[in-house]
Subunit: 318 residues, 2 copies
């Protein structure tokens, strides 16, 4: 049986989006390695355009649309980074973007969407409310929905982050990515499959929103409970990513908000880079399982850096 996504799908997507995305650096830290007991390679998507890996998938999906559809604009619902990524892709391609965001989305992410000329439609922070609002927007505008994760072009775009990591660092034993809707994780799994086939793919998830953990156990998609400071990971898995994750991801490690906050602080203090709570989730997972990774080469996709400084400051000083 042919796979859903081919090697050349990812290679072609990478070439397609290259003019519009950064090849982000891979950082290392002796002091974090000492704490973790293994060699960590941090793929810094916090330095990506719009501050997150989401620029990859959104740009790939937009560039793949036929001209007549594209002309009517792009639409999506997103809690944050994908929203900015779609607004940016629309701006690059000179079309309109219509973004449905939960009213609880961080202000910094709303500002980002507006800065790219995106039109925001606020809704209640539930999947049902998002989908309903989006359907209304689409029926009015004729825009094409680019789903944040349940879309193969998006998944293929996200795969290019891990592809770059594997090109730069050879013989990585395992790679960790955070999981929310599953776009980054499933893309990372496909990238490992083709570009570093001996690498074990591990998911990291907030314990307060452990739907991927439970879904892999039960074999069917379980709804997210949405309780975590990792605001980018509160969505339920999509069926397209889930099918990939079921066959290609070895394990889901869950971590508490305290562990996420401690990992975020550690990265800020030692690597001197700003990452958002969602990006700290795989770091927390590595620190949690510690000994199991002893002396391994471990890749971590640092998914983004769009943190709400006020909110984080309150957490840190409380």
């Amino acid at each position: 049986m042919d796979p859903i996504i081919t090697r050349s799908d990812i290679e072609e997507a990478h070439e397609r989006i290259k003019p519009y995305i950064h090849r982000t650096p891979v950082l290392t830290s002796h002091s974090i390695d000492e704490l973790a007991g293994c060699s960590l390679f941090f793929k810094c998507e916090n330095f990506q355009n719009v501050g997150a890996f989401k620029a990859r998938g959104a740009t790939n999906a937009a560039l793949n649309l036929p001209a007549d559809l594209l002309a009517k604009g792009l639409a999506t619902h997103s809690s944050g980074n994908h929203a900015q990524a779609i607004a940016r892709a629309a701006k690059i391609l000179n079309v309109k973007s219509y973004i449905v965001m939960p009213r609880t989305a961080p202000e910094i992410k709303k500002r980002g969407v507006r800065a790219y000329g995106g039109e925001i439609f606020e809704c209640e922070p539930t999947l049902a409310a998002r989908e309903e609002t989006l359907a209304q927007v689409i029926s009015k505008t004729g825009a094409t929905e680019i789903h944040p994760f349940n879309n193969y072009d998006v998944i293929i775009g996200q795969a290019t982050a891990a592809k770059e990591l594997f090109e730069e660092i050879k013989n990585i034993n395992m790679v960790l990515a955070p999981v929310g809707g599953g776009g980054l994780l499933s893309g990372t799994a496909y990238a490992a499959n083709y570009f570093s086939p001996d690498t074990v793919v591990i998911a990291a998830e907030p314990a307060g929103s452990d739907d991927a953990y439970r879904s892999l156990k039960s074999g069917r998609i379980e709804p997210a409970q949405s309780q975590s400071i990792a605001d980018g990971l509160l969505t339920t898995l999509g069926d397209k990513p889930f099918a990939i994750i079921k066959s290609k991801v070895a394990e889901v490690i869950t971590v508490s908000d305290e562990e996420i906050l401690a990992a975020m602080r550690l990265v800020w203090e030692r690597l001197k880079i700003v990452i958002e709570p969602s990006a700290a989730v795989p770091v927390a997972a590595v620190l949690k399982v510690g000994d199991q990774l002893a002396n391994q080469k471990v890749g971590i996709i640092l998914s983004g850096g769009n943190v709400d400084l006020e909110k984080f400051s309150k957490l840190l000083s409380s």
Copy 2:
């Protein structure tokens, strides 16, 4: 008349310390450029070993000591980053280090000194108390003092940061460095003198500790008042750096703590990197003078990233 510091002094120092320091990246940001109205090139010494440019000068001075002196160890007084830099240099050279620190120094910096095996002697946060305590330590141990800024080997070492910037980015119109004791600023001025002679050198200083501003006006060293969140810049100018600054620095721009905090936030949010308040001072200066720099190529030495996250969080959430 021969200059105090020659071109080959700096070139030889650079070769000497290269095995022990990072060649730090130069970052840019479209969105900060838009705000500032000029092209900014951020030399990221927050990514340097010990999290600050201080690793350069301390390592150069230590490597230049005769073996018999070196064997008795290194000593210094410092409010923070230089302390860690000396402790690290001593560890690399396998000798002891004795560090006099004001009791008000940030905990993160004390932890850093201890992590490198440095022995800390706490004192009151005044120059007199620091010098007295250091004299006692030296008379007991026979260690050699490496002053944080009033030392030519240290100044020459600090010059290598701007040298790297000028090697990477050509035709910089002006370069800004923060000024506390004057080591980084005087080194930057010498680096411009030899490696980018058309570049204007500008100092940036907290308004609450504007001794360099007043000293350049009066022509003699004025004492610092030491009131600013930029805790690395509260010392009075040394006479060695001052002589250089008088002849080679065009201007001192002073900025308020509010401006420093806003600049720090801006860098965290847009560049996604962690810088300490002292490093934000030249960024604040650029944003303050705005129009005067229109369309210029402006280099900024981001001096370090050792921020006390608790303290900063309280400032941000207050």
